[in-house]
């Protein structure tokens, strides 16, 4: 089998789960997934951090979320401000946000968090970081404003990881961390 894309602690708990969310076929909706793959390529995660390209999956992510102590979601988030504007959502604002502010393509995230709550395994902290999309129409590329905001988004994710006590380490510039790139992502060219 393939090499795992993460280092798991022995007790099967995931201290920090980083989820890239969104549909990469729908322009800016895929911003979170693209940011996740760029994060993996440029940064080595600290021990205890698991990064997952969650796409638009819903309940299929439950086996990971229910084991996670903290969840950091990267996503396109509707909000005030022009396309590319940074958005950060935490605490009590998360539940309404996943129903109303994430894109139509991933209402599964609401099912996912609802399911974890129903089973009494809602993570102790959930944070969403993202950018305001310009378009979620069909298209494989991000719009210019959102594309330009992606380096800043990755930087903010790094800052969140650091603030949570899991600072990542920069990889040598340009060195692809091949083992962290899955086949599909390679084909999709993120």
């Amino acid at each position: 089998m393939r090499e795992p894309t993460r280092s798991e602690p022995a007790n099967d708990r995931i201290p920090l789960l980083v989820l890239g969310l969104g549909n990469v076929l729908c322009t800016d909706d895929g911003a979170g997934v693209v940011a996740l793959h760029r994060l993996r390529r440029a940064w080595a995660m600290a021990e205890g951090v698991v990064t997952v390209d969650g796409g638009t999956l819903g309940l299929a992510l439950l086996p990971m979320v229910e084991r996670a102590e903290r969840v950091l979601m990267i996503d396109a988030v509707r909000g005030d401000g022009p396309p590319g504007t940074p958005v950060r959502i935490t605490g009590d604002d998360v539940a309404p946000a996943v129903y109303e502010r994430l894109s139509p393509h991933q209402i599964g995230v609401a099912d996912l968090l609802g399911g974890a709550a129903m089973l009494g395994r809602y993570p102790s902290a959930v944070v969403i970081v993202g950018v305001v999309p310009a378009s979620v129409d069909l298209g494989f590329e991000r719009t210019p404003a959102v594309e330009a905001s992606l380096p800043g988004l990755v930087t903010r994710v790094v800052a969140e990881l650091t603030a949570m006590g899991f600072p990542p380490t920069p990889l040598v510039a340009g060195a692809l961390q091949e083992r962290n790139l899955d086949d599909a992502a390679r084909a999709l060219g993120f």
Partner: protein
């Protein structure tokens, strides 16, 4: 006359909007519209066909494996690659596991709440619930203490106002018929199914790698090495793990899902008289038992017309066409023509109203879905179609399961042509698959024993081995029904691609002759007790397992909004 709009706000794959007219408490006309454009076909132009599955896998968040399978099959058909037995068996395992998991999640987490009143469960007596549970199944978790615990958990959610998935529904609606104890039983198993499904889907992690998007697909076979003695391959330990997961699935389906299904259905037998639909059923067939394009399938292909269970027609892929008379597309040869998907066109031309709007002009174009037709006729696809075609073809296990369920409910085969029939067929198919899937694990184990470790047909990997110009079709029975991908490969690149997905067959709009699609036809005559709470419409639409749920807003005949409710 009351005009009802069931408008999908947001859902997993796309947006579904149902408009219905209600006269004297019954639906007299219905229109089904998808309000989201999907054009994967356009994105794939010019790409390497061997990568197409990685793109199509992202079409939908609940159907990742199914678009990958259809895509690799289409490309294999075009270039002449033949996957070896181990690849066929692994694909069968992955497809069947997807179907089982999807059906259980649909029943408990997407559809049950149309039949089960969560609020009523709060007034159930845990001891009486235990008695009920023990009367229908020997499942061990059935004590009064267990049900009291579930009741307390639900009450805590309700008291905190944190209904989550239970938040948007029509609790207390007169169409709910279950006694409180049956409601509590179903809610308990809603939670049990949530636990079980996340355990079972580990089967995909075992076969497809740890990433939640399966990584093990490959044109010509699979990417997962098979070797009984290697740590880095599917090995003896994998076989042991698969056996255990399948044993758990059989236990859950036979002792929880099926007893619950029959118990709930017994209170809703009137729904065997609603939701019949177009009465034509199409199945491409699935789970090849040997190699090659004409291999026999465990679930056979075929066509049934006009609810005639005495006749089964062979499936002819050449008879599939798509029309766009009522769809927001243009065809170069005219909008009333019908095109086979191998020469299909995707030219979006939106002519609908600017959102937000109250009514669609259903006399004109009104959906982003095309109208797929078979030999010019609308066809229902999905578990009911599969069970009917297998039943008519004399499939012994399907006959036993179907006749058994009909006998327990005391209804005849005509009851299958209904909303209830659709719900029952999904459960029976789940039982069929959990009974069968273990055979494929043993086949894999047997191949390992014989030393047959082949997993990939490498002869056709290099594009120089391909024809300059090739067409291919990939057929798959996804959980929701017949799925087809068509690919045109020219000089090693994709020159044309078309997907005809199950929800297009079922939810598509009227065609050039004015024939309704399956959703539209199934809603005719549906009783609606309260137009502001069109629960009955949702029951029939959800019985097809659309890849989307909806928000509802209800307008009166003048288009004035009466209420707005989000439902699942």
């Amino acid at each position: 006359m009351t005009h009802i709009v069931v408008d999908p706000v947001t859902r997993i794959e796309g947006h579904l909007r149902i408009e219905a007219e209600v006269e004297n408490g019954l639906v007299s006309s219905a229109w089904s519209s998808s309000t989201m454009f999907r054009g994967i076909e356009i994105i794939l132009q010019g790409r390497d066909p061997r990568d197409a599955w990685a793109f199509t896998q992202r079409i939908c968040g609940v159907c990742t494996t199914v678009h990958a399978i259809a895509s690799i099959r289409a490309v294999e058909d075009a270039i002449g690659a033949v996957p070896p037995p181990n690849a066929r068996v692994l694909r069968n395992l992955i497809m069947a596991a997807q179907c089982v998991q999807d059906h259980v999640v649909h029943f408990y987490h997407l559809h049950a709440l149309d039949w089960v009143d969560v609020v009523s469960a709060l007034s159930a007596d845990p001891a009486a619930t235990a008695t009920l549970a023990q009367s229908i199944s020997d499942w061990p978790e059935s004590s009064p203490t267990y049900f009291a615990g579930i009741k307390a958990r639900i009450k805590a959610f309700v008291d905190r106002g944190q209904l989550g998935p239970f938040g948007n529904a029509y609790w207390g609606h007169p169409a709910y018929k279950l006694p409180p104890e049956a409601n509590l039983l179903a809610v308990a198993h809603y939670l049990a199914a949530l636990e079980w499904q996340r355990e079972f889907i580990k089967l995909h992690a075992v076969l497809g790698g740890k990433n939640p998007h399966l990584q093990s697909f490959l044109v010509g076979g699979m990417a997962t090495p098979v070797d009984p003695s290697s740590q880095a391959a599917l090995n003896i330990h994998t076989i042991t793990m698969l056996r255990k997961l399948i044993e758990g699935a059989r236990a859950f389906v036979s002792r929880v899902y099926i007893p619950d299904l029959l118990a709930i259905a017994s209170f809703y037998k009137d729904w065997a008289g609603h939701g019949a639909g177009v009465g034509n059923y199409l199945v491409y067939g699935e789970y090849p038992m040997t190699e090659g394009a004409n291999a026999p399938r465990y679930l056979p292909s075929g066509v049934i017309r006009n609810r005639d269970l005495s006749k089964l027609e062979p499936f002819d892929p050449g008879k599939i066409t798509e029309q766009i008379t009522h769809s927001w597309y243009k065809y170069a040869g005219g909008d009333d023509t019908a095109l086979h998907p191998s020469v299909g066109e995707t030219h979006p031309t939106y002519t609908g109203p600017k959102p937000p709007y109250d009514r669609l002009d259903t006399a004109a174009k009104y959906s982003w879905l095309k109208s797929p037709r078979y030999d010019g006729q609308p066809m229902e696809v999905g578990p009911l179609a599969r069970m009917l075609v297998a039943y008519v073809s004399g499939h012994a296990q399907v006959k036993t399961l179907v006749d058994g369920a009909l006998g327990k409910l005391g209804v005849g085969p005509e009851a299958l042509f209904s909303t209830l029939g659709r719900v029952a067929a999904r459960g029976l198919e789940t039982q069929l698959l959990v009974d069968k899937i273990g055979d494929w694990v043993e086949e894999l184990a047997g191949n390992m024993d014989k030393g047959d470790l082949r997993i990939h047909d490498t002869d056709r990997w290099d594009p120089s081995s391909w024809p300059k110009d090739a067409m291919g079709a990939g057929f798959h029975e996804a959980p929701r029904g017949a799925l087809g991908h068509w690919v045109h490969i020219k000089d090693g690149k994709i020159a044309g691609y078309q997907c005809v997905v199950p929800s297009t067959w079922n939810a598509g709009p009227r065609d050039s002759r004015g024939q309704s699609g399956p959703y539209e036809a199934a809603l005719l005559g549906t009783p609606v007790a309260d137009p502001e709470q069109p629960l009955e419409i949702l029951r029939t639409v959800h019985s097809f397992d659309p890849c989307m749920a909806c928000g509802v807003h209800v307008v009166d005949a003048k288009g004035r909004e009466l209420a707005r409710v989000q439902v699942r």
